[in-house]
Subunit: 218 residues, 2 copies
Amino acid sequence: MNKILIVEDDVSIHSIIEELLNKNNYTTGNAYSGTEALMLLEKEKYDLILLDLMLPGINGEEIIKKIKETPIIVLSAKISSEDKVNCLLSGANDYITKPFDNKELLARIEVQLRPKENYQKTLKHKELELLNDNHTLLISNQKVNLTKTEYAILKQLLQNQLQVITKNKLLELISTDTEDCDENSLRVHISNIRKKMKHYTDQEYIESIWGIGFKLKD
Amino acid sequence: MNKILIVEDDVSIHSIIEELLNKNNYTTGNAYSGTEALMLLEKEKYDLILLDLMLPGINGEEIIKKIKETPIIVLSAKISSEDKVNCLLSGANDYITKPFDNKELLARIEVQLRPKENYQKTLKHKELELLNDNHTLLISNQKVNLTKTEYAILKQLLQNQLQVITKNKLLELISTDTEDCDENSLRVHISNIRKKMKHYTDQEYIESIWGIGFKLKD
DNA sequence: GAAAATGGTTAAGAATTTGTTAAAATTTTG
DNA sequence: CAAAATTTTAACAAATTCTTAACCATTTTC
């Protein structure tokens, strides 16, 4: 589930947004000032930030410049073109003026959370090719049947070839709901994937990063 | 230089946009209908598409759905929230209503062309390079395997290159909870990091500040 | 300069994490 | 609703990492 940080000092607007997001299956974090937002961002990773501009303390643009890793949608009552341009060029990804339409906000949030490019294209890595039919992997063009979760795990790994995917991230894919789902289960899935691959190739493709998670071997 | 495809049937608007983009150092491609746009996209790769909705022939949304690999900014006279939402959920990346402000258009174009986050965001210091998403350290581009805590310690040091990091601060990273965790343990970790580095470089990178903590050497 | 305190290194074993297997529980399918 | 497939749980072995402890070096204090 995606986590969104709401940065808004007006308590009533804040709770309206929070409710809207929660209803639509987003987890929310709450900050009522710029400094609070920055603190929260140090502790936890968010997938998106909704940022009001007129905040107590730090100026909105300053905050935008400090945040590099998380996409930002500015939510502001300032409608001037100049404000928009400044924010967008400082690093914001979108700018919505208040009052905003709920559905448009939700749509623009989805745009930001949408995985870049990797749409329909089959994912490839060396001998591996993951078809987008949810259960087939090709190894050197030989079909390998995968279960739903095995497919989901490989998809995540192939989508981010260079990165380590944390165990928690992968657990999100597996566990339908529960937070405290078992890592053990993930280990079994990985083991099963490896076993299946072994029939078709000598190469090891999944590398364990001790204490962190897994990644594709370079 | 970035190449932008303008899809707009109104000739005068089309040329205004074209001129604006050219002035701002973009190369442009020109399509006056949806089918023409799709044809051009097959032949050539564009970095961005500016798409008018009311086109002869194919409907705008249809085009959006067919284009998967290139980001799209919709430029439309339709101001209804419903139109916006439809386009955005179909795959458009932004939606600007006509008449639009030139500077805002340019800013929103920049947002789309901006490299998608620095995935491989790295912390650098002289020969050292800590790959954030990879949990690896490079010394003069050679991979060095680090354990979780070794990585955490180096990350802390590299994040605050000039400052001294207190032993207590570093202990926080190591010890899961306990306050009274052993400083000895930290010493061992530092020692291990130094030992690992020694294989790849003659330089000492971690400096001990007596009684206080550690810092990176200038 | 000697005693006390802090820092550095090493090696062993304690603790944690990972890999594998098989069986139980659950979900999907016919 | 029964059979088949999939996922989870449990148990144990293997691998890796962390902490402890001992010992020596260096710096500070008196």
